[in-house]
């Protein structure tokens, strides 16, 4: 299985975006960071004990699935939407959803458009090879509108075209829109339209059939979510790992029971995972939260206790 391969190799191959600020992007020295990257690190920490033992494989919208299917990457964390056909026909599994998103539109403020319903006849920049282009076709069709698709290959190109005015609207997942807008010279000149035209549950993907590896990826993510729920942070995780009153935390952090061994990873897997970049909330705030230039609100991605959808199944 993949787990053995990873252990033998000593490094996790993680497929990421070629460059989407906040989610996955290399800096001048080639160090990757971002919301998706943090999950890669957490998995590496959980399995190998070291968040640095990740090899990032930048994939384009077109090459990502093959990279996964062919074994070039062990997991794909590249704002990929979980869909029916991707799980069945393309033979992948989405063990968890790390970001609940939806497709939106961004337009220039001075265009006077305030609703997606006013976009009839507009040129729309759209990244090829994504679910967004299918959603877009469906949306305009069901609203009896026409549009002119302007195909782009990467987010960077989309930004360029949109900034230059080559398209009236730029469509992608709302999170991506926010990230993109944040990076504009004058973000206040652009607005993201209120319509969200699709459900875009984004999550890490693994190959179909390797359930053990899927469990590891899924539960590592849930460990991060649970960490937030129970107040386990990067700062206090070592302290808490020595034992607490809360048996759930004890089981999570390996103080009690041997959940790790059941999956074939060290018992302190969750400790390492949370220490790598903090719990889900910390990761969110550090990479895409409201204090970052991207400035995304938690919204659907808040804990279930806060009215969001992030809900970690029980660790027992």
């Amino acid at each position: 299985g993949t787990l053995d391969d990873v252990k033998a190799r000593g490094v996790v191959n993680c497929g990421v975006n070629t460059g989407l600020v906040g989610f996955a992007a290399p800096d001048a020295n080639g160090n990757w960071s971002g919301f998706d990257v943090a999950l890669c690190k957490a998995v590496a920490a959980a399995v190998l004990g070291d968040p640095a033992k990740v090899k990032y494989v930048p994939t384009t919208g077109q090459t990502r699935f093959t990279a996964l299917a062919s074994g070039e990457v062990d997991l794909l964390v590249r704002n990929t939407t979980r869909t029916f056909s991707r799980e069945t026909d393309l033979k992948m599994d989405f063990p968890a959803i790390n970001y609940y998103d939806g497709q939106g539109f961004m337009v220039r403020k001075d265009s006077g458009v305030t609703s997606a319903k006013e976009l009839n006849g507009a040129s729309v920049c759209i990244q090829t090879g994504t679910t967004t282009e299918l959603n877009l076709a469906d949306y305009f069709k069901s609203n009896g509108m026409t549009y002119q698709p302007i195909a782009i290959d990467s987010n960077a190109e989309g930004e360029q075209q949109f900034l230059a005015g080559a398209c009236d609207a730029y469509t992608t997942d709302a999170s991506g829109l926010a990230a993109t807008r944040a990076a504009f010279p004058s973000p206040q000149d652009y607005i993201i339209l209120p319509e969200i035209i699709s459900k875009e549950p984004l999550g890490p993907a693994v190959r179909h059939g390797d359930n053990n590896w899927g469990d590891i990826v899924g539960w590592t993510f849930y460990a991060l979510v649970a960490g937030e729920e129970y107040g386990v942070t990067a700062a206090n995780v070592d302290e808490l790992a020595k034992g607490t009153e809360n048996p759930e935390i004890n089981r999570l952090l390996g103080h009690e029971g041997n959940l790790g061994a059941m999956m074939g990873v060290p018992n302190d897997w969750a400790v390492k995972a949370i220490k790598a970049g903090g719990n889900y909330g910390e990761i969110f705030e550090a990479n895409i939260g409201e204090k970052t230039p991207i400035g995304l609100a938690r919204g659907l991605n808040a804990q279930w206790t806060q009215g969001g959808l992030m809900y970690a199944p029980p660790f027992r």
Binding site: G61, K91, E133, I150, A164
Partner: protein
Amino acid sequence: MTSAPDAPEQGFRLSQLIYDTRYRSLTIQVVVLIAVMAAAGWLVDNTVRNLHALGKDFNFGFLWNRSGYDIAQYLIPYSNDSTHGRAMLVGLLNTVWISVLGCAAATVIGIFVGVLRLSKNWLVARLMTVYVETFRNIPVLLWILVSMAVLTEIAPGPNEYKVNPATGEASASMMLFDSVAFTNRYTAIPSASFGRSLGTIDTPLMPVSVDWVLVFAVLAVSIWANARFRKWADAVQESTGARPTTWWKSILIVLVPVVVVAVALGFRIHEPVLKGFNFVGGTNVSNSFVALWAGLSLYTGAFIAENVRAGILSVSKGQSEAAFALGLRPGRTMSLVILPQALRVIIPPLISQYLNLMKNSSLAIAVGYMDLRGTLGGITLNQTGRELECILLMMLIYLGLSLVISTVMNAFNRKVKLKER
């Protein structure tokens, strides 16, 4: 004739397979065949096993499924309800279309620059050299990206054509009598329609407009008539020596019938007008197309210019001197003496430039023009997850296109060559 006794029959020895020139090559070929078959078998076996492990099959059925995505540029009707197969066809036609237009433009540029590079005018010759060297030595991808960037970054947006109520002026203006507008998302050019249309015929591939068929038929007939007319002029020249002036008559013969038919059908030109977000009424040629076209033509044109120059230089100076000494003017010298000889040298490399342009058109990916790679090898591949099928099919189609181009051009080359000997 006295037939010598044949070499003593010694029966066949195994060592003959290696040492006997008669069998040796057979042995080697068998070994090579086995090796190639084994390699092919190995690849196929691996593929089968890999597919099996992934739970996939090898099946082109997806070509008949609904594609679900939109394509901005299509030459035959297409919508997201069409099949993947049709999307592939749209892409293929787009590839062919950009290749044909690209080759045409590159040839024009190449001839123009190649001739100017030999100009006596120092400045022009230098400028052309700079052009050729710059374009030849920098990747074509850069030229395509630059063309695209020029169009998107420098051309005005459609809304800049709007008349600003405050100043009463628009910040950008259309060109060519308000018929062409460069914008940062497309180039709006006039389109045509027929007021008294004869309707269209639906074929499975695309609806065919009877009007256009008629117009082209008439055009073909007039061109044929013009060829006859020129033959007649040749005959007159042969018998009297003086060639009747033909150029304006030729133009009349070609143009008048077409114009008459067009007028009869109520031919109208629609100039693009700004309405809402965009220009409507005309045809909007997407920038991705224009950028790809410009990048490919300028790049390939530089290579063709070199071929043209080499071709002309290959004709020795003595040839033009001899023609001058006979009293031929420079224009005639060019067309009767230099070009026919230069052409033989120019055509073979021209073929490979055409092939290169066709293959380079797959760089459409850089600007989002939906060619064969963009549809079949891009979105279809991605939406269906059929890498193996899509890429093999795509390579086969490109191979077919290459074969067609080289066959046609080689035939043309033979024709030009035959004239000599």
